[in-house]
Each structure stands twice: as C-alpha cells, then as structure tokens.
C-alpha cells in the first residue's frame, strides 16, 4: 500500500545520468553517444541515416535530460 513513511526502494533514476541512459536505451535501442552521432552525421549527409532513426535519436536526447512534470489542469480532490 502507499505508505508515505516508506519511500520507494528503487533508486530514483536521475535525468542525465548513466542509469538514465541505460533505462532509455531499452526503448530507443541506442546510447546517448550513438544518438548524438546519428544526429551529427545525418545533419551533414541526410542519406546516411533514415529519418525514423534521426527522429528516435532526437527523442532520446530530449528524454535524457527531461524531468516528468504534471500536465493536468484538474484539481486534486475527488470530492466535488
């Protein structure tokens, strides 16, 4: 159960860390260095990398440094 005295024991993965890179590479299938390389190479010569890979590399770099935020405008309480 959600007990505020007990914080989650999984170590929080900090944005920009090596752990975050590993965590994201599960989905994007590349490391941060590879993502940077893909972007740099495609910028010079678009024929080198397909657009999908380029887009994925950009998405990974954006997620690498980003922190989750609240986006809902609804109020917290359920008792209207």
């Amino acid at each position: 159960m959600a007990d505020k005295k007990q914080q989650p024991t999984i170590q929080r993965i900090e944005p920009g860390s090596k752990a975050m890179e590993q965590y994201l590479s599960v989905g994007y299938g590349m490391t941060v260095d590879q993502a940077k390389l893909i972007i740099a190479e495609r910028d010079k010569n678009p024929a080198l990398w397909p657009y999908e890979e380029y887009k994925k590399a950009k998405a990974m770099l954006a997620a690498f440094d980003a922190k989750p935020v609240a986006v809902s405008k609804r109020k917290g309480s359920t008792l209207k």
Binding site: M1, A2, D3, K4, K5, Q6, P8, T9, I10, R12, I13, E14, P15, M20, Y23, L24, V26, G27, Y28, G29, E52, K55, K56, K58, A59, M60, A62, A63, A66, K67, P68, V69, A70, V71, S72, K73, R74, K75, G76, S77, T78, L79, K80
Partner: protein, 361 residues
C-alpha cells in the same frame, strides 16, 4: 381572395428575423404580384403558386415537430483497471498491507539467528453520497406531447454514469497525483509521448517494480490508459504495421494486448497527451473505487405524490405531482468514494502505476 392574400402576407412577416430580410422581401413581392394577377388566374394556376413556389417554409413548421436523436457520448472503460472495493456503511474502511520478512543470513557455529521483522502499512477511505434533482410541473408533463421531458429520468441515469466515469478518472488524472508521481522520477514516471519506444520504456519500468523492502514484484498483466487523442497512435503501435517489419514482427503485443488498451475520455490533454500504465487490479489495487455494499450503481428515484383523488377525475400527470406545488420531482443518486490523499489523491498503491507526461517526443 385579397383578404386571404393579406393574411398570408401577415403570416410571412411574422417570420421576420427567422428568414433573412432579402428573402422575406422577395416572397412578399411575389405575394403581391400574385394578388395583382389574381383575377387573371384560374384555380389550377393559383393552386400551383400556393403549393410549389412560396409557401413551403411557412406551413411546414406546423406540420412536423421532432427532436433529433440524442448525441452519443464517450463512456469510460475503467472497470478493467480500477480496483473495486465495498464499504459496509459511511464510516471509513481500513486497508492494510503486510511487508515481507527479510532473506536469510549465514549463521556461524553456535551463533544466534538474526531476527527479521514485518510491518503493516495502512490507508483509509470511505464513500459519500452524490445526487442531483430535477423537477417539472404536472402541466409541463401534460404538454410534453413528444415525450421528451418524460425521458428525463433515463437521461439523468445516463448523466450519473458519465459523472462516475469522470469521478474515477479524477482519482488518478489530476495535477496533484501527477506532481507526486513525477517527483518520484524515473522509473515511476516518464516524459515521452506515446510511441513504441516510450511504451517499451514504460513497460520495462513496470517490470522493475519492487515492494518497500526491495523485493521484485511480479506484474504479469498491464493496462494502457490513454486519452481519446492517442487512440489511433495506440492502435498503430500495437498492431502489425509495415514500419515494424510486417505481420508478427511487433513484440510489444506479447506484453500489452490491444484488449488492454482503455480510452479514458476525461484525461486532461490541455497541455500534453499524458498516458498511464496500470498493473492489473487483481495484482495491485492501484486506484480503488469504493461502493456502499448493496448499492451497485446509480439509482433514479421519484417523489411519491401526496395527492389523493376524492371525487371527479383528473389527468394522470396531475396525480403524479405534489399537493402543494404540483411539482413532479426526480433525483439520481450514487454512493461511491475513493482515497482522497493530499499527495496521491485516489491512487491507493503507486507501485501499480506508470505515468508519462507526454512532454518529450
């Protein structure tokens, strides 16, 4: 004849404001022309002018009155991922979870055992009564020749169902819960929009869940909860598409089936299209909806009339009303609740939830 034409002209002028002025003027001119030529017309010509040229709009509205069929509304699909609980009365119920004992330690010769401990955690929630009333006069019921007002009790029941969908959605999709989960950071929350890569990260995050003592939890069934705006995207991700290499090549469907994608029409997408992963409620009670025992859903009620006919006869509508006011009163009620925590709001176990704000590609 001229009197009849003057009446028609007056009737036409009554439409001023409904029919644009130039069109109305055109029709009046046509009427006057008809009046001026009335002596030169035979009966057949006059009938033709009346029925085909200028009077269709004037008479049609009196011949046909009907309501369009009601709009169809999006309904919530939350029963697959919300944990149902019941309360015996209006007092809060307590729900506990016991922690697991620790692992073993090496015991040296003649040494004592090392002790472990277990502890419980507890939350409380209860139900509240929610209702809405609608009243009409018995005269309105009598005048309701199309029967639309009489449908109101059924429509109120539908409105209560829509309200419940929104209530359930607000238990987890709100700024406070999102802030709390986002503050935990990865792997509890993410930033990615709904793409195959970001969904894979979310699913992987769910498989890394541990309990408070660090024991790895076994989550076998996941539910993806999305706003309607992501419906096409989710279908594309979970089905075999050419970009995934053709039929059978999309492994994501092994971890998340299309049947476990639920659309929540109330998820707020004003800023970004957030999405959630839920553990199956049989494994983790992530978000709980509590109901009063014996109250399985919204009820519609009508106030019993306190009129008793002593002599004479009266329409049935009159006998449905109130003695003092003549009002006929309906109400719809439901008794539901959930946790109302200052941080988690209605999320009773955050370990069963993954939130992605959808703010990065």
């Amino acid at each position: 004849m001229r009197t009849i034409l003057r009446w028609i002209e007056e009737y036409a002028r009554a439409e001023q404001g409904v029919i644009p002025a130039p069109e109305l003027d055109k029709r009046i001119v046509a009427l006057r022309e008809l009046a001026s030529n009335v002596h030169g017309m035979n009966a057949t010509q006059f009938q033709e002018a009346m029925t085909t040229a200028h009077f269709v709009d004037y008479f049609a509205d009196a011949l046909s009155r009907a309501f369009y069929s009601d709009y169809a509304y999006q309904v919530g699909d939350w029963k697959g991922y919300i944990y149902p609980d019941t309360t015996p009365d209006f007092r809060d119920v307590d729900r506990f979870r016991m922690s697991e004992p620790g692992g073993l330690y090496r015991r040296r010769e003649k040494a004592e055992h090392k002790a472990t401990n277990v502890q419980d955690s507890e939350i409380h929630y209860g139900v509240d009564e929610f209702s809405r009333e609608f009243d009409v006069s018995w005269q309105t019921i009598l005048n309701d020749d199309l029967g639309k007002i009489k449908e109101t009790p059924q429509r109120m029941a539908k409105a209560a169902a829509r309200w419940l969908d929104e209530f359930v959605s607000a238990l987890f999709d709100n700024a406070t819960t999102q802030l709390t989960i986002a503050a935990l950071g990865a792997p509890w929350a993410g930033t990615g929009a709904l793409t195959l890569a970001n969904l894979a990260i979310g699913v992987n995050a769910m498989y890394q869940r541990t309990d408070a003592a660090g024991n790895r939890m076994n989550i076998t069934k996941l539910h993806l909860v999305i706003p309607p705006i992501l419906k096409i995207q989710a279908a594309q991700i979970l089905q075999d598409v050419l970009s995934n290499g053709g039929p059978g090549s999309n492994v994501m469907s092994q971890f998340l089936s299309a049947a476990n994608v639920h659309v929540d029409p109330f998820i707020d997408t004003t800023v970004a299209a957030a999405w959630y992963l839920f553990a199956d409620p049989s494994e983790i009670p992530t978000v709980t909806l509590a109901r009063l025992t014996g109250w399985p859903g919204p009820v519609t009620v009508m106030k019993r009339s306190n009129i008793q006919l002593v002599s004479g006869s009266a329409p049935a509508a009159f006998l449905m009303g109130d003695f003092t006011t003549g009002d006929i009163e309906f109400a719809v009620e439901d008794v539901v609740g959930g946790w109302d925590d200052a941080g988690y709001v209605g999320v009773t176990d955050f370990r069963g939830l993954y939130y992605s704000s959808g703010t990065t590609p």
